[in-house]
């Protein structure tokens, strides 16, 4: 698939080549220092309009994108499903047409349906850039980028500077509800691109169907994985997406797949603990681990702004985007369309699927 002229989207971590990803990370590194300056503002996106279109609740992602866009001097319009026509049943298509009419240069979209950002980008409703800020159980590419950035800063930096290839051969364990996690999927794709080895650790019921086709290893045994790993990324159990019982009890889950002080002691000295948030203390991670020296959870949030600035700048800052030009989103497209049907209980595969129920 060739991306049409003027297309500048970030829909999947699979859209990014290794060079793209490393350009985003090195750009983020330069932009990170902005937070230490008296005037936290750069003029790169002056006069551009960015719409945050959120169909699903989110605190950190929306605020992070808003801060990133504002620091680049873009105009930001926040558009959330609650309290807008979206809650009256307007379709995604009509929303897109409205945003197009308002002259949005980019739409940052979070949607409960997997594939909605892909629809928005490729259905021909608007000419805006589309940036996926999390779609259903599919992908969350900017989260994967900020995670990779955080890992690189801790494990792949030399003399305080990021090193290309810094994650080559590093071992990352992603633990918990992989089945419902767009963060896990995007991370698995991006980390593979960057040369890291990913192991997904979860009970069999919480590993997605077809995980054997991902470029990852899987394990049901957290204790066996921990001593070999450089990064442990804990995932929240997404009970709001669960319509069946995937494990006997919370206590049982915590005991087998939760990260507590005893398990943390099994980690190598340099290993770091991550969590994309929001975390449930006492379930997948204990409070003492979340607040420990190894935990980089708060830093992930800080890095999120720098990484999203880098993405916005590289997609919108010039006459054409500097990243994600590759034809790689074919697979994501197919997957997205399939998921979209499943998520809405529709099999027709037309625009109506993304309508609010």
């Amino acid at each position: 698939m060739t991306v049409p002229t003027g297309s500048r989207h970030l829909l999947s971590a699979a859209d990014l080549t290794r060079d793209d990803a490393e350009l985003i990370l090195s750009t983020a590194e330069e932009l990170r220092s902005l937070a230490d300056r008296p005037i936290k503002k750069l003029p790169a996106l002056r006069g551009r309009t960015i719409v945050n279109l959120f169909f699903e609740d989110s605190t950190r992602t929306r605020i992070s994108f808003e801060a990133a866009a504002k620091r680049l001097s873009a105009d930001v319009i926040n558009f959330s499903a609650k309290g807008s026509s979206l809650s009256k049943g307007e379709s995604l298509k009509d929303t897109a047409l409205t945003l197009e009419a308002m002259g949005a240069d980019a739409v940052v979209v979070r949607h409960w349906a997997s594939g909605a950002p892909h629809n928005l980008a490729h259905a021909g409703w608007s000419r805006s850039s589309v940036i996926n800020a999390g779609d259903g159980t599919h992908e969350h590419p900017t989260q994967a980028l900020l995670d990779a950035f955080t890992m690189t800063r801790h494990l792949g930096a030399k003399d305080g500077a990021l090193r290309p290839g810094g994650l080559d051969g590093r071992r990352v364990a992603i633990v918990g509800d992989v089945l419902h996690s767009r963060v896990a999927r995007s991370n698995a794709l991006l980390l593979h691109t960057l040369g890291a080895e990913v192991t997904l650790v979860a009970p069999p019921t919480l590993l997605p169907y077809g995980v054997d086709t991902w470029n990852v290893q899987t394990s049901y045994d957290l204790d066996a994985v921990l001593p070999k790993t450089d990064v442990v990324m804990m995932l929240r159990v997404q009970r709001e997406r669960m319509n069946a019982s995937y494990f006997p009890s919370v206590r049982e889950y915590s005991r087998r797949y939760g990260l507590d002080a005893r398990r943390m002691a099994a980690l190598q000295d340099h290993a770091i603990v991550m969590h994309p948030g929001p975390m449930i203390r006492g379930m997948e991670i204990t409070a003492d681990v979340a607040d420990s020296e190894r935990s980089v959870i708060v830093e992930q949030v800080t890095n999120g702004v720098a990484v999203r600035m880098a993405v916005l700048y590289l997609l919108l800052g010039g006459s054409e985007p500097a990243v994600a030009n590759g034809p790689a989103d074919v697979g994501a497209a197919d997957l997205g369309a399939a998921d979209l049907g499943a998520a809405t209980g529709s099999t027709t595969g037309n625009d109506e699927e993304s309508e609010q129920q």
């Binding site: 350009l23 090195s26 750009t27 330069e30 932009l31 220092s33 300056r37 008296p38 005037i39 503002k41 750069l42 003029p43 790169a44 700048y313 590289l314 997609l315 919108l316 800052g317 010039g318 006459s319 054409e320 985007p321 500097a322």
Partner: protein, 199 residues
């Protein structure tokens, strides 16, 4: 790296112009390694004379070659004065007036020395002064970082053809050129040797 630079260097206009080393010198050599060294020594003395010492001095190089030049000038000043001179770098990419006219470009390092630039005498250092647009962008970039007491400009080569009312305070070599010619600056730190050539 920049319109001024890429034109000045006769490079294909890409971000790589700054990142990669200059190809082997072709064309007529205007300054060789010893000339470059002498020019920088003279600039260092002129800066000290103008500033009456190294007090409050901050040298900010414009990446990539401007940073190397700033470091060399700082070393020469330290030699004479016996005191450390603060050196940093200032990336102007996001402040360029042609940002929207080309694909998004990679950012280069901005490192402001500890203590910032407020009430300091900042000397901007670049390799070639041509249209003056890079320097305009640098003045804008500095505006977001602090308020220096004064800003001066030091360049290794001034090749004329200004588009903006900007001039250099310290010039290594005034080089009359035609706009069809290109000037290539090569520095040992980045390109393996020191030379300025014209083609």
């Amino acid at each position: 790296m920049s319109p001024t630079h890429s034109e000045a260097h006769s490079e294909a206009p890409s971000a790589d112009a700054a990142a990669g080393p200059q190809p082997a010198a072709t064309g007529r050599t205007v300054l060789d390694a010893r000339d470059v060294s002498r020019a920088l020594t003279r600039i260092s003395h002129e800066i000290l004379e103008r500033n009456r010492g190294s007090r409050d001095l901050v040298l900010l190089g414009i990446p990539t070659r401007g940073v190397h030049l700033a470091r060399r000038i700082a070393a020469k000043i330290s030699e004479v004065e016996g005191a450390e001179v603060l050196v940093g770098s200032l990336d102007v990419t996001m402040y360029r007036d042609d940002l929207r006219m080309r694909p998004a470009r990679a950012l280069l390092p901005t490192e402001i020395p500890p203590g910032g630039i407020d009430d300091k005498v900042v000397v901007l250092v670049d390799d070639v002064l041509y249209s003056g647009r890079t320097i305009r962008a640098a003045l804008d970039a500095m505006n977001d970082i602090g308020r220096p007491r004064a800003v001066r400009l030091a360049v290794l080569v001034d090749r004329g053809h200004r588009d903006l009312p900007i001039r250099a305070d310290f010039v290594g070599k005034n080089l009359p050129t035609s706009t069809s010619e290109s000037v290539a600056v090569r520095l040992a730190e980045h390109d393996g040797e020191d030379s300025v050539t014209i083609k």
